[in-house]
């Protein structure tokens, strides 16, 4: 049913570019960036912060991302939240393979990005050895602000099509590195009517 069978490049990359397909492509990119459903892939500490990002204070739903899909088939973003052990690595890869194109990966936290402080026998030193990573969110764990920044960055990359260009260059993920945001959240901010 899907019009696209295998999305490696932009939605309609195979077609000749004219005004119409160009517009359609823009539209598709807009849709993809505004509706990127994350897969529920929580591993460790970062998963808690990832869920907190979905909570009322930070509200992932603003980006249309509250639809955490349990089934990898329906998910677009895999947020690798936490340390990946040697035992988990094959499972991670399997779930990545089960996701449908187009799919994006955010490596959340230093453990996922590089093994972090646990440079030892048990951990995979950097999840980019298993799956291509598009955005690295630093921090241990990255605060929700940092994760949001990673997500917004990813959305921008998708909408501008930059992500595909970068992927072609690197041959893997887009590999965008961010700085950790250290925003004071001490302000009592309550969202909503209450």
């Amino acid at each position: 049913m899907g019009i696209v069978a295998n999305v490696q490049a932009d939605g309609l990359a195979g077609l000749e570019h004219n005004f119409l397909t160009g517009r359609v492509e823009d539209l598709i990119r807009w849709a993809r960036s505004h509706s990127s459903w994350p897969a529920t892939f929580g591993l460790a500490c970062c998963a808690i912060e990832m869920m907190a990002t979905g909570g009322p204070h930070y509200d992932l739903a603003r980006f249309g991302m509250e639809v955490f899909r349990a089934s990898p088939r329906q998910a677009d973003i895999m947020i690798v939240a936490g340390r990946v052990s040697q035992k988990m690595a094959p499972v991670l890869r399997q779930i990545y393979d089960q996701m449908m194109e187009p799919k994006w990966v955010i490596s959340m936290g230093v453990c996922a990005s590089s093994g972090g402080m646990f440079n030892n026998y048990a951990l995979v030193q950097g999840v980019d050895t298993i799956v291509p990573v598009d955005v690295y969110a630093p921090g241990c764990p990255p605060g929700p602000e940092t994760l949001l920044q990673a997500i917004v960055t990813l959305h921008e990359l998708i909408e501008t099509g930059e992500i595909m260009r970068r992927r072609e260059v690197t041959g893997a993920g887009a590999g965008v590195h961010l700085d950790e945001l250290q925003l004071p959240t001490s302000s009592a901010l309550t969202i909503g009517t209450r």
Partner: protein
């Protein structure tokens, strides 16, 4: 004793020898509690049963109110200095299994340290006395390679089944991978 010492088997042998020498020279009568040598560490009571006394001791302690086995872990003393805080009459071995028992009625804890020789890393299981040791014993097996005789499911618990080696042994490398910085020509 210095932290600059590099752990090696020779040291352990040395340590054993020195303790044996001490034992032969003085031969003091060990203080006994529940029929096994007892020592104290920072105010905590530690019993030192032999491998043969172990199960019977836990069993009788259970009768005495130590109903809960809260903890069971292993220690690899390879490369440790001579002073193991063992009472007289207990010969130090490379491995130790440390069992923590808790009595709710008199709110006290007691600790057991069982010496396990490197040549025969086996110990009887406590499973039929305290079912709570199932996971911890599997962990000790996984991490130290100490087999628990009679344990219903003596398989690896944390590492994958096909993993080689026992990570918490002192002669098992940490597995550190040198950090490589982007653009650097050589690994640092």
């Amino acid at each position: 004793m210095s932290d600059a010492e590099t752990p090696s088997i020779d040291d352990a042998e040395l340590a054993e020898e020195s303790v044996e020498e001490v034992l032969e020279e003085e031969l003091p009568q060990p203080e006994l509690l529940h029929g096994v040598p007892v020592s104290e560490s920072r105010g905590q009571v530690v019993l030192h049963p032999s491998r043969d006394e172990y199960v019977a001791l836990v069993s009788s302690l259970r009768e005495l109110g130590y109903w809960m086995c809260v903890d069971l872990c292993g220690v690899d003393y390879l490369g440790y200095g001579p002073n193991r805080n063992l009472p007289a009459g207990v010969a130090p071995e490379r491995f130790e299994v440390v069992v923590g028992l808790l009595s709710h009625s008199d709110r006290s804890r007691i600790r057991l340290r069982v010496q396990i020789p490197e040549s025969d890393p086996e110990l009887a299981t406590l499973f039929l006395i305290h079912p709570s040791v199932e996971n911890p014993e599997r962990e000790v097996f996984d991490m130290f390679g100490i087999r628990f005789d009679g344990h219903p499911d003596m398989t690896r618990i944390l590492m994958p089944d096909e993993w080689v080696g026992h990570p918490l042994r002192k002669d098992y490398e940490l597995g550190r991978i040198p950090v490589q910085f982007k653009g650097a020509s050589t690994a640092r």
